[in-house]
C-alpha cells in the first residue's frame, strides 16, 4: 500500500504478510479518493505499550477485523532484529510481574521472547542504608518456586512483540516516521471527520483515526494535542544504569535468584539479576553524583557500586567527593566494615562497556487518560519513580484494560473511539496507577532523608512488615501484580 511498509520488510515472511494486507484492498480503494487513510486505531509509539496494544487487538478474534496502524519514529526492523551474544545485555531492563508476563503470554507474545535472556527471581532483599533495617521477601509456604518477577531487556520485549505482530499481520506500519502534526479532519460531502484526529506523518501520509492512541512516551505529542494536562515534578535525581558482571551466579545459585535494593538518602540502588553472573543496576542519585559516576574509570566505578551496597551513607558521600582513587579508598574502608556477605549482592567484578548511562527521574500523571477519540497508555499517561520497577507493568496493565474496553465496544456495536466506551479504561486504570505512583513517591521521600524522626519510624515499619508473614505475602502479591485489587 502507498503508506507504510510491512513489519520487518526484508524477511521472507513478508509475502504472507503482504497477502494478508491485501485482503481489505477494496476497502482501501474506496477510501483512496479521500484525502486521508481511515483507521479504527492509530497507535503513535512502537514501545512496549503500543506494541502490546496492537498485539492484543490483532490476536483477539473480536478486534482482529479492525483496521490498525502503527507510527514509530525509529526503524522497527532494527528493533525486531535485536540480537546480542549471551555474554552481553542491554542496559535498559525491566522487571516484568507475573501478571504482565501472563498477559503477554495470553496475546501470544511470550513465546517470541528470547527466553534464555530472561531471568526470573524468587527473592527480594530490601534494606535501609541508614539504619540497616531489612526486609526479606521470599514466598512463604509451599510455593518455593514462585517467581516474584522476570528481568527482561526492553529490546527483547519489543523485539518479541514485533515478531508476534509479524506473525499476526494486518498492521499498517509507518516506522522511520515522525508525527509532523495532529489536527481534526474536515467535513466533506459524504463524511464528517471534523471530530476525528488526523495524524500527518513526515512521509506525507495522513491517517484519520477513530481512536488515536498515545503510546508516545513521557513527552507525548498525542497528549499535547488532546490538551490533557499533567501534574508531577522532577525528583532532581538521575537513574544511573549499567550491566554488571558479578563474581558468581548469586548466593542462591542458578535457580534461586535474588534482587537487592538498598535505600540510600540520595535514592535507592538496586541490583537485579540477569542470566548467569550478570546483573542490571539502577542507582538513583543526584544529577551531580550521577555525572561523577559516569566519568569514573572502570575500576573506580566498580568500587563505587560495591560501596553503594556496603558502606555507610557517610562513607559513600566521602567517596563521591574524591577526584580519583575510589577503588583504593573503598578497599581500605572495607577492612573496617563487618558485613554478612550472603545478605548482600555478590561483589561486582566487571562492567559491560558502553552500558553506563543515566536518565532523569520524574513523576508525571496525566489528568485523564481519555478524551473523545483519544486514549493515552504507558508513559504518556504516567511516569513513575522506577524504585518499584512498576512503570512498564503499569503500561501493560493499561493496555490490557484498554484492549478489553475496545473489545467490549466492538462486540456490542459501539463506537470504540467514543469517550463513553473509553470511560471503563480510564476508571479502571486511573485510580490504580495513582495509588501505586503515590506509594512509590512516598517511599522515595521517606527514604530520601538520613536524619530526623522519620528514620527510626521507617525502620520500624520495615522490621514490622518483615516479622509479619501474611502482611509480607500481601505486599509480594501486590508487587507481582497478582494481589487482590485494592480499588
Amino acid at each position: 500500500m502507498s503508506a507504510g511498509r510491512a513489519l520487518l520488510g526484508k524477511t521472507p515472511t513478508v509475502c504472507r504478510l503482504c497477502s494478508r494486507r491485501q485482503v481489505p484492498h477494496a476497502l482501501r480503494r474506496s477510501y483512496s479518493t479521500r484525502p486521508h487513510e481511515i483507521y479504527d486505531v492509530v497507535c503513535v509509539g512502537g514501545g512496549p505499550a503500543g506494541l502490546s496494544l496492537l498485539t492484543a487487538l490483532r490476536s483477539n478474534p473480536i478486534t482482529s477485523g479492525l483496521r490498525v496502524a502503527l507510527v514509530e519514529a525509529q526503524d522497527l526492523a532494527k528493533t525486531a532484529a535485536f540480537s546480542l551474544p549471551p555474554t552481553k545485555f542491554s542496559n535498559r531492563c525491566s522487571s516484568l510481574t507475573p501478571a504482565s508476563a501472563q498477559f503477554l503470554n495470553s496475546i501470544g507474545a511470550w513465546p517470541h521472547m528470547q527466553r534464555s535472556r530472561i531471568q526470573e527471581y524468587q527473592e527480594m532483599q530490601v534494606w535501609d542504608g541508614v539504619t540497616g533495617a531489612r526486609i526479606e521477601f521470599d514466598w512463604q509456604g509451599g510455593s518455593a518456586s514462585k517467581n516474584i518477577a522476570y528481568m527482561i531487556e526492553n529490546l527483547n520485549l519489543t523485539s518479541g512483540l514485533l515478531k508476534r505482530l509479524e506473525e499476526l499481520g494486518g498492521v499498517d506500519t509507518f516506522d522511520n516516521s515522525k508525527v509532523e502534526s495532529i489536527d481534526y479532519g474536515k467535513e466533506t460531502e459524504d463524511v464528517d471527520l471534523s471530530e476525528w484526529p488526523v495524524v500527518q506523518l513526515s512521509g506525507g501520509q495522513s491517517l484519520a483515526a477513530r481512536l488515536l492512541v498515545g503510546a508516545d512516551g513521557v513527552n507525548s505529542p498525542v497528549r499535547t494535542f488532546a490538551g490533557i494536562k499533567t501534574t508531577g515534578w522532577d525528583y532532581e535525581r538521575h537513574g544511573v544504569v549499567a550491566t554488571l558482571q558479578l563474581e558468581g551466579d548469586g548466593w542462591g545459585g542458578e535457580y534461586t535468584k535474588i534482587a537487592y535494593q538498598r535505600f540510600l538518602p540520595t535514592g535507592p540502588v538496586a541490583m537485579l539479576p540477569l542470566p548467569g553472573n550478570y546483573a542490571s543496576m539502577v542507582w538513583s542519585t543526584t544529577p551531580e553524583k550521577a555525572a561523577i559516576l559516569k566519568k569514573l574509570p572502570t575500576k573506580d566505578f566498580l568500587a563505587m557500586v560495591n560501596a553503594a551496597f556496603r558502606l555507610s551513607p557517610t562513607d559513600l558521600a566521602y567517596l563521591h567527593s574524591l577526584e580519583e582513587g575510589q577503588a583504593d579508598e573503598f578497599s581500605w574502608r572495607m577492612q573496617h566494615v563487618s558485613t554478612n556477605p550472603e545478605m548482600l549482592p555478590q561483589t561486582v567484578v566487571g562492567v559491560q562497556e558502553g552500558t553506563v548511562a543515566s536518565f532523569p527521574l520524574r513523576l508525571r500523571h496525566a489528568d485523564t487518560y481519555t478524551v473523545d477519540r483519544i486514549a493515552l497508555v504507558g508513559d504518556a499517561a504516567h511516569a513513575v519513580h522506577p524504585l518499584a520497577g512498576q512503570g512498564l507493568n503499569q503500561g501493560q496493565g493499561d493496555v490490557q484494560s484498554l484492549a478489553n474496553a475496545i473489545s467490549y465496544a466492538v462486540s456490542h456495536g459501539q463506537d470504540l473511539g467514543a469517550q463513553m466506551w473509553l470511560e471503563p479504561y480510564n476508571s479502571d486504570r486511573y485510580a490504580a496507577n495513582h495509588v501505586l505512583m503515590g506509594v512509590c513517591d512516598k517511599l522515595h521521600k521517606i527514604y530520601g532523608t538520613d536524619s530526623g524522626p522519620i528514620v527510626p519510624l521507617r525502620s520500624l515499619g520495615l522490621r514490622a512488615v518483615n516479622a509479619l508473614g501474611p502482611l509480607k505475602n500481601f505486599f509480594m502479591e501486590q508487587a507481582s501484580g497478582n494481589g487482590a485489587k485494592l480499588l
Partner: protein
C-alpha cells in the same frame, strides 16, 4: 415547552428537548415529556402510530428551532441520553440471548428494522456489528431523523449498511413474500408511548421474517414506576404539569406475554434490567416486574 419544566426536568435526566410529533400530543403546547427519574427509567424515544397518516407538516416550527440543541444533547455522553447510551450494549446482549436460544444455528448475516429509531443509538450500533447485513431505521419525526443522519455521517463505516427513512410503520411497504421480512425488528422504548399497542404490534408482525425476532423494551406498570414518574415528578416536585405522564400506557410483562399468545409467535423471552449508580445497567432476574425490561418473541415458521 415551558422553559421552567425543561430546565427542571433535565435534572432528572429526562429528555425534555425531544421533539414529539404533534399527532401524538393531546395538547401540543404542553409537550407530554415522559419524565422518568434516573434509577428506574430512561430518557426515551417516541414514535407515534395512533394516527395512521401522520402529517409531518404539522411539526411545530418552534420545536424545529430546538434542533441544534437536541442534536448536541442526543449524542452528548454526559447529556440527558446518557443512561440510554449505557443501556444500549444490553440490547445486543439480549438479542444475542434470543438468537442463542434457537435450536437451529443463527443466520450468518442479519437484517434489522429499527422502528422509532430516534437519534440512532441502537441503529448505529447494529450497523457496526460484523454480523449485520443491513439496518433500516425509521422514525416519523423529521427533525429527530435529521439528528440521526447528521451523526451517522461522522462514522465513515456506517453508510454501507445503515439507512434512515422518515416513515412510520404504516407507511412502510409490507414485505410481499414471507421470506422478505427482517431477521430482527426492534421497538425500543416506544410502545409505552402508543395509545393502542396491540394494534401497533399487529402491524409490525408482517415485517418479521418467519423465525425472526421481534425485540422490544418498556417499563412495567407498577407502584414503583408510578411513584417515581407520577407522584414524585408531578405531584411532589411539580417539575412537569400534572397529567404529563401516562402511567396507564406502561405495559407489564405478563400483558405482553398474553398478547402474543396464539398469534403466530413463540419463545417469549424477558430480561429485567436495573441501573445501579457506579456499576451501570445490570441484568437483574425478576426486575422485569418492577421497572425497565426487554421482551422478545420469535415469529412462527409457516
Amino acid at each position: 415547552m415551558p422553559p421552567v419544566s425543561r430546565s427542571a426536568a433535565t435534572q432528572l435526566r429526562a429528555v425534555p428537548k425531544r421533539i414529539l410529533p404533534r399527532t401524538h400530543l393531546a395538547t401540543p403546547r404542553q409537550a407530554p415529556t415522559i419524565l422518568r427519574p434516573a434509577h428506574v427509567v430512561l430518557p426515551s424515544r417516541c414514535h407515534s402510530t395512533s394516527n395512521p397518516n401522520p402529517s409531518f407538516s404539522s411539526v411545530n416550527p418552534e420545536e424545529v428551532s430546538h434542533f441544534a440543541e437536541l442534536a448536541s444533547e442526543w449524542w452528548d455522553p454526559h447529556g440527558s441520553s446518557r443512561l440510554l447510551h449505557l443501556m444500549n450494549p444490553l440490547r445486543h446482549d439480549f438479542i444475542n440471548a434470543c438468537l442463542d436460544s434457537q435450536l437451529e444455528p443463527r443466520n450468518e448475516t442479519l437484517s434489522y428494522l429499527d422502528i422509532g429509531c430516534g437519534g440512532g443509538i441502537f441503529a448505529e450500533s447494529a450497523a457496526r456489528l460484523r454480523s449485520t447485513r443491513s439496518v433500516l431505521a425509521i422514525d416519523p419525526t423529521p427533525s429527530v431523523l435529521a439528528v440521526a443522519k447528521a451523526h451517522a455521517r461522522k462514522d465513515p463505516g456506517l453508510s454501507r449498511k445503515l439507512e434512515y427513512r422518515n416513515s412510520s410503520i404504516e407507511q412502510l411497504e409490507v414485505p410481499k413474500k414471507e421470506g422478505e421480512g427482517y431477521d430482527i425488528v426492534s421497538v425500543f422504548e416506544v410502545i409505552e408511548h402508543i395509545d393502542q399497542p396491540g394494534a401497533f404490534l399487529e402491524k409490525v408482525q408482517p415485517f418479521v421474517k418467519p423465525g425472526g425476532w421481534l425485540v422490544m423494551s418498556t417499563i412495567a406498570r407498577t407502584w414503583m414506576s408510578w411513584l417515581t414518574t407520577n407522584l414524585i415528578a408531578e405531584d411532589i416536585l411539580k417539575i412537569v404539569p400534572k397529567g404529563t405522564h401516562d402511567w396507564n400506557k406502561y405495559l407489564d410483562e405478563d400483558e405482553l406475554r398474553r398478547f402474543f399468545m396464539d398469534k403466530g409467535w413463540n419463545s417469549p423471552r424477558v430480561m429485567g434490567v436495573v441501573y445501579v449508580p457506579g456499576l451501570g445497567w445490570k441484568q437483574v432476574r425478576g426486575s422485569e416486574k418492577v421497572g425497565n425490561y426487554f421482551f422478545a418473541v420469535r415469529r412462527d415458521f409457516p
